[in-house]
């Protein structure tokens, strides 16, 4: 499962992810981190069966937690050019037999690289 963690000016200074990892013994995979002096946003991958335990620990430590259930999506502006294919680090996009761009969304790590390069601005993260 993917979690979006939001840190405020206090929590951003604490080694919270390490604490949670040590306390639970669960390895936490950081997929994307945007951490500044006053706030931070980190996307982590955790095992599904430990998600409740880990989520409540983060909450206890003052971190805002959102489960990411929806991954990259596209609107009708897509013309199936395929520019996104080689940009995606995890090969989410592929051309199918009809030469349409197919999205394997379970591989998406929310890096957002494709959103920035799509020439028709057809890609987005649903909220």
């Amino acid at each position: 499962m993917l979690l979006q963690l939001r840190f405020d000016s206090k929590t951003v200074k604490e080694p919270i992810i390490s604490r949670v990892a040590i306390k639970t013994g669960v390895p936490i995979n950081i997929l994307k981190a945007d951490v500044g002096a006053r706030k931070g946003e980190i996307i982590v991958e955790i095992p599904d069966d430990k998600s409740k335990e880990i989520e409540s620990l983060f909450l206890e430590m003052g971190v805002e937690v959102h489960e990411i259930t929806k991954s990259i999506a596209r609107n009708d502006d897509c013309v199936h050019c395929g520019l996104c294919i080689s940009i995606c680090p995890t090969e989410v996009f592929q051309l199918n037999s009809e030469m349409m761009v197919e999205i394997k969304s379970e591989k998406c790590i929310h890096c957002g690289a494709c959103v920035k390069v799509c020439p028709t601005m057809a890609l987005y993260f649903p909220i």
């Binding site: 199936h80 520019l83 294919i85 080689s86 940009i87 051309l95 349409m100 390069v117 028709t120 601005m121």
Partner: protein, 490 residues
């Protein structure tokens, strides 16, 4: 042997045999070109890609009192007005003056979609055209003519792009990841119009084509036409176009552009044409060039076929690199099928060119005034070793009256750079050695690079000097913004 007239008769009586270029490959490999030429009358080819050299002539009719446009904008995108009073040319890549990621392409798309756009213009105020400004809302229905005229479309093939530099590049070929991180390519290869008629026997001036859902015409060779990198100049009525076959886009860091669907029917007059419409991707060669070198003649990384590019992976320097198309094969196929349907229904007759396109043409570079290179602006670099003391560096700067010291090893290879600002930092930090405060990621230039490249690097990285290095990274000089501005002023 068949004639165009015979094929057109068949189109009219509904007995015509039309296949797409994709289907034709199979037919020729099965029947051979002779038999295929007897069976098949028309092959539809197609492409659907971003074509920057696209625009629309619009005539708005006269206002009362009338105006001669001095400047005109559609949705804040400026159009060319150096024509008659109310004629304009709106180019696809012209960016909006007020909206991000929006440009001429988007205005064209909105017009085809049936939307209204804002026309704003200022006039000269002449005796015959007294009005000085106008603001109104127009749609495609309101204007007299809206004729798409594109100086360069439907590239036969195109150079694929990659990036050797350590910086992400945002180009008209899409985003190119650093260190050969990806390859992008344009064109549809074996189904692309000109690859199916490389001698231009049927594709020429006057050939009726499918342009974004409308019937259009080839009006000549396109700009930069240089077979086998051939191009077409085309026209078509914007009012008849279908929004499905035209899509505005935006390449971050470059400009707006527009995806166009272009289909060209190739009459199968004889076995020779049948053979040329059987061309396969592995026979169509192009090169992968390096956009990491910001020069006109970008270095060729390797030769490649469209089959390799379409496979999604190519090898560069022994490593597998992922490939992205920029043209939509899905939409290109839709174009071929739509054109096929139009011909089968008797709605689209073929025409022979009234003049053939040149099959040989050279694409010349721009004639420039003398290009000045870095070597002319280079001064001797005062260098220092990385283990030297800060005091020595400071002393050297004062004695030699310089602000930058490239830091080198025993062989004279560049290791870093230290500036007078770094010295100040060293004092506050209490650093002793040059290597403690020097900048290690040094921006450099080569002596034979145009000075314009050095200037753009200075601006881009907001720095005031660049060490000039040779291929072995040995420091051979330095260019400073001071020297450049002094020399360019004279």
């Amino acid at each position: 042997m068949k004639t165009i007239e015979e094929i057109n008769e068949k189109i009219k009586d509904g007995s015509v045999c039309v296949v797409t270029a994709k289907e034709m490959k199979e037919i020729v490999s099965e029947l051979g070109p002779e038999k295929a030429a007897k069976e098949v009358d028309v092959v539809t080819t197609g492409t659907f890609g971003a074509m920057c050299s696209t625009g629309v002539f619009i005539n708005f009719g006269h206002s009362d009192p009338p105006i001669k446009f001095r400047k005109a904008w559609l949705n804040d995108v400026e159009a060319y007005t150096g024509l008659a009073a109310v004629d304009i040319f709106l180019g696809a890549t012209k960016p909006s003056e007020t909206r991000e990621n929006y440009g001429g392409a988007h205005v064209i798309e909105e017009l085809v979609f049936g939307k209204e756009v804002e026309l704003r213009a200022i006039g000269f105020g002449t005796d015959c055209y007294p009005r000085k400004e106008i603001e109104t809302i127009i749609s495609l229905e309101d204007v007299n003519q809206a004729i798409m005229v594109n100086p360069r479309n439907a590239y036969q093939r195109y150079r694929a792009a990659t990036n050797s530099s350590d910086r992400l590049l945002r180009t008209y070929m899409g985003t190119l990841l650093p260190n050969y991180g990806n390859v992008t390519f344009a064109g549809t290869g074996e189904i692309s119009p000109m690859n199916n008629d490389p001698e231009f026997r049927t594709i020429g001036v006057g050939t009726r084509i499918f342009l974004c859902g409308a019937k259009g015409y080839i009006i000549g060779e396109g700009t930069q036409h240089s077979p086998p990198f051939g191009t077409l100049m085309v026209k078509g009525n914007l009012k008849e176009m279908k929004s499905e076959f035209l899509k505005a886009c935006y390449f971050p860091g470059y400009a707006p552009s527009i995806f166009l669907g272009i289909g060209i029917p190739i009459p199968v007059l004889d076995a020779e044409i049948a053979r040329s419409t059987a061309v396969r991707d592995w026979e169509i060669k192009t090169t992968i060039v390096d956009f990491g070198v910001p020069r006109r003649d970008r270095p060729v990384v390797r030769e490649v076929t469209y089959a390799e590019l379409k496979s999604g992976k190519v090898e560069i320097n022994g490593e597998e690199v992922r490939v992205s198309p920029l043209s939509s094969f899905y939409m290109a196929e839709k174009v071929m099928k739509e054109l096929k349907k139009m011909i089968e229904k008797g709605e689209f007759l073929l025409s022979l060119p009234v003049e053939r396109l040149k099959s040989k043409e050279v694409f010349k570079p721009m004639k420039q005034k003398e290009i000045r290179i870095v070597r002319e602006f280079m001064t001797k670099a005062v260098t220092i070793g990385e283990n030297s003391n800060i005091e020595d560096a400071a002393m050297l700067m004062i004695n030699k009256n310089v602000n930058h010291l490239p830091v080198v090893d025993e062989e004279g290879s560049l290791k870093g750079i230290i500036t007078s600002w770094d010295i100040a930092k060293a004092v506050t930090k209490g650093a002793k050695k040059v290597k403690e405060v020097m900048t290690r990621e040094v921006i450099t230039v080569f002596p034979e690079e145009p000075i314009a490249i050095a200037i753009s690097k200075l601006e881009k990285y907001d720095i005031s000097a660049l060490p000039v290095i040779d291929a072995k990274r040995r420091v051979i000089g330095i260019v400073t913004s001071e020297t450049i501005s002094r020399m360019l002023e004279v």
